[in-house]
Subunit: 458 residues, 2 copies
């Protein structure tokens, strides 16, 4: 219990019944989507305004209570686990779209808005927010973990799509970073510092995000390869040709098999590429055809493309069903999802070595990824009640992480550090990790913002 | 004199004749391209390696000497002026391209490589580095000032195009930020923190940069408008349609007149847009034609486009000659170049108010800008020996800065803070400026890295 009774009393005075200590609430906010042990907070706060967040933070700072932000809990690395107890700040009541600026193609939102809700809200404007990590995460959570997903190859990650933030700092000060101008050379990039900081430097209470015009036309294509090498070569050549892919996804033979079983499909059980182009009708046709020529040069088979919505959807069946098909391949299993990102020239070898490692193990582990970024995931399917299996999955994951570093990559392309990758920060960053610690101590000298995460043993 | 004799002796032992105290060297490194008073360093160091930079920094740290990095001196805001004396670290001998990775489309360079030298080096690879601030600046300088220029609307700024850095910190530690992976969610974005830090947190000794395929085809177009409003509307509609402009430049009637006088051209003396598209031959034709339709909808006149190199060059004559044509419009003048960036919906009013301000003054001030980003410059032409004129130019500049902030923009889109914008940091950032100061003190507690710049009175 790291929250003194007087702090709870004071928080209750501010929040009323929006401060919860019910067991179900604590349990819900102490879980993660994957295998990490539960770590419930001492209380859950549901602020409605930035002023309330600042008041919560000032009270916690005065009483030395840890504070952990909470979106909808879709992190795969246990970011929001209250490993030192304290107050969980749940942003679900701060879920308003505050302003849409169609001419400037930006939007101002509260952190609890989910990406699907935002896009539903934007539909009539002809604009959309492209970052798509799969889960219907909140935008505050996506910013805090520097999320990306299938569209990053064209539209970038959260790093590229947050124009500015409002942040409550560890001492309760409220700052704004960035402006609504598209670029600036005015001082340190604080927006970029808070994006990906995983709530360790402050709590995000407002975000200004870039929007894009809904594409006039979309084409999609699918093709199969006998091996990962020519699939990756196809992607490299497509990028070098400057053909602007909106998405380019890889799924391996095991994933194709899982989708066949799950969705009654009949894909060849081989590595596949699935690609999508956004643009004008003639542009997306030309791009799909140019991609098809590169596929043929690399001995890809079964190339099909379409810009008709129902046919596009059919072509992407595999990707849309992939994650749940993989989970269904082993009923009752929990997934330990790995998340490497390497220079694309090393991607084929990273996937092949991982494939061989998994084949030599007894854990099922389909592989899929955002191949245009060099980012891929193995979905290691384990019985969560079996510590031997979990240990084996961690061993495979550890070897993948070492492989990523050896090949010049990063231990996490998009899922973040959280609990799962903290042990690799020194290996990836060396003394630069100490610099992160210096920044942390400067902005959060008491170490109360999401403690136990991201920096060295604070 | 802020460098003790024993420090100079020790530096001389490391660098030999690559430590210079000649008057011509000190004068050269104490000047800027514009109106700021000279501020020479006490000595100029010409390191060849990162180890030498680290040795210089350790010596300076031990003796409390200021350190200021130097590229080629093309800053327009006096970034590299040694306002507290100390050692100027000139990177001209660290000018090697260290590694080109064509498959990964990245390159590793030393900070003294200029962007033109890099692109000359890359020519045979089919790749290029797109960020183009006009001047042939060094890549270390461009990173330090978060430079951008004409191509940012398509390819982004230095913020978007630096994958990783090697940095010598204020205590001599050498760190690496980022990896060669295209994205990462592994901890604070230190790369983004050092890009735009103007040498106040460390000295950049190596950069890993993104490259792009040289476009298969380029088309260019030009058109004139009766007013800035419809020109900006044309740009907004083009962006909303998702037509991917590689460059979109605005020049005002005064600039068109200056180009006519300078280059013997006969452009209508009206606001113009100049645009360039990069893509496939049919893609750039389609894009130019779609742009032409939007121009017609906005009553633009004289629309012409071409994808033939010599015709493209002719169409862009105005932009290529603009800066020197403006300088030539007042022989002997120095330019005070302003640098606002606002949300594009406010751009027309920002330009029109600025135009009216300048018209009511006696200082000539043609306006041009990177209109796709909402970024524009007035080139205020003053007699550098006339303090009354300089004061008038500063008054106009001050009103422009206030206008940018009032319209939700930033005091500098791409030129940086340096000496010229330091007085506006509080107005733009409020308490976030104090956060910058906290980071500065954490990483440079003695305040020796480019002191007197960017943060509050260190």
């Amino acid at each position: 219990m790291s929250v003194p009774a007087e702090a709870l009393t004071a928080l209750g005075e501010i929040l009323g019944d929006r401060l919860s200590r019910s067991k179900s609430d604590l349990d819900l906010h102490g879980q993660s989507e994957t295998w990490f042990p539960a770590a419930p907070p001492d209380a859950v706060a549901y602020p409605r305004t930035t002023d309330e967040v600042a008041a919560i933070v000032r009270l916690c700072a005065a009483h030395g209570c840890p504070m952990v932000g909470w979106g909808v809990g879709t992190s795969l690395e246990g970011h929001a686990l209250a490993v030192r107890g304290g107050i969980c700040v749940d942003f679900s009541r701060m879920n308003r779209v505050l302003a849409v600026h169609p001419e400037d193609m930006d939007v101002v939102v509260q952190p609890g808005v989910t990406r699907e809700d935002l896009n539903a809200d934007l539909r009539a404007t002809g604009l959309f927010f492209p970052v798509d990590p799969g889960a219907n995460a909140t935008l505050g959570g996506m910013a805090s973990t520097r999320a990306s997903g299938t569209t990053a190859v064209r539209y970038g990650t959260m790093r590229d799509n947050v124009l500015g933030l409002q942040v409550v700092l560890a001492d309760g000060r409220v700052i704004r970073t960035g402006t609504r101008a598209r670029k600036s050379a005015a001082g340190y990039d604080l927006t970029g510092l808070f994006v990906g900081a995983e709530g360790t430097l402050g709590l995000i209470t407002e975000l200004t995000l870039k929007l894009y015009g809904q594409p006039e036309a979309i084409s999609a294509a699918v093709c199969a390869f006998d091996a990962i090498g020519p699939a990756v070569d196809t992607v490299i050549q497509t990028i070098q040709m400057g053909i602007p892919m909106a998405r380019i996804e890889f799924v391996d033979a095991a994933t194709a098999a899982a989708v066949n079983a799950y969705a009654g499909a009949r894909f060849p059980e081989k590595p596949h590429l699935l690609v999508e182009f956004h643009g004008s009708p003639s542009g997306v046709a030309e791009q799909a055809e140019a991609f098809g020529e590169i596929v043929a040069d690399n001995s890809g088979a079964g190339f099909e493309w379409s810009s008709r919505p129902e046919e596009r959807t059919a072509l992407w069946t595999m990707r849309h069903n992939a994650y749940y098909a993989c989970l269904a391949a082993r009923p009752g299993a929990t997934a330990l999802v790995t998340d490497l990102c390497v220079p694309i020239s090393r991607l084929a070898e990273a996937v092949e070595e991982t494939r061989a490692d998994i084949a030599a193990s007894y854990i099922p582990g389909p592989i899929l990824g955002h191949v245009g970024d060099g980012n891929f995931h193995a979905i290691l399917l384990v019985d969560p009640r079996n510590p031997v299996e979990l240990a084996e999955a961690k061993r495979l994951s550890h070897r993948m992480v070492e492989r990523a570093l050896r090949l010049g990559g990063t231990v996490t392309g998009e899922h973040g550090i959280g609990m799962g990758k903290l042990g690799y920060m020194e290996a990836e960053h060396g003394e630069a990790w100490d610099v992160m610690g210096q920044i942390k101590r400067a902005l959060d000298p008491q170490g109360l913002m999401n403690p136990g995460k991201l920096v060295r043993g604070d």
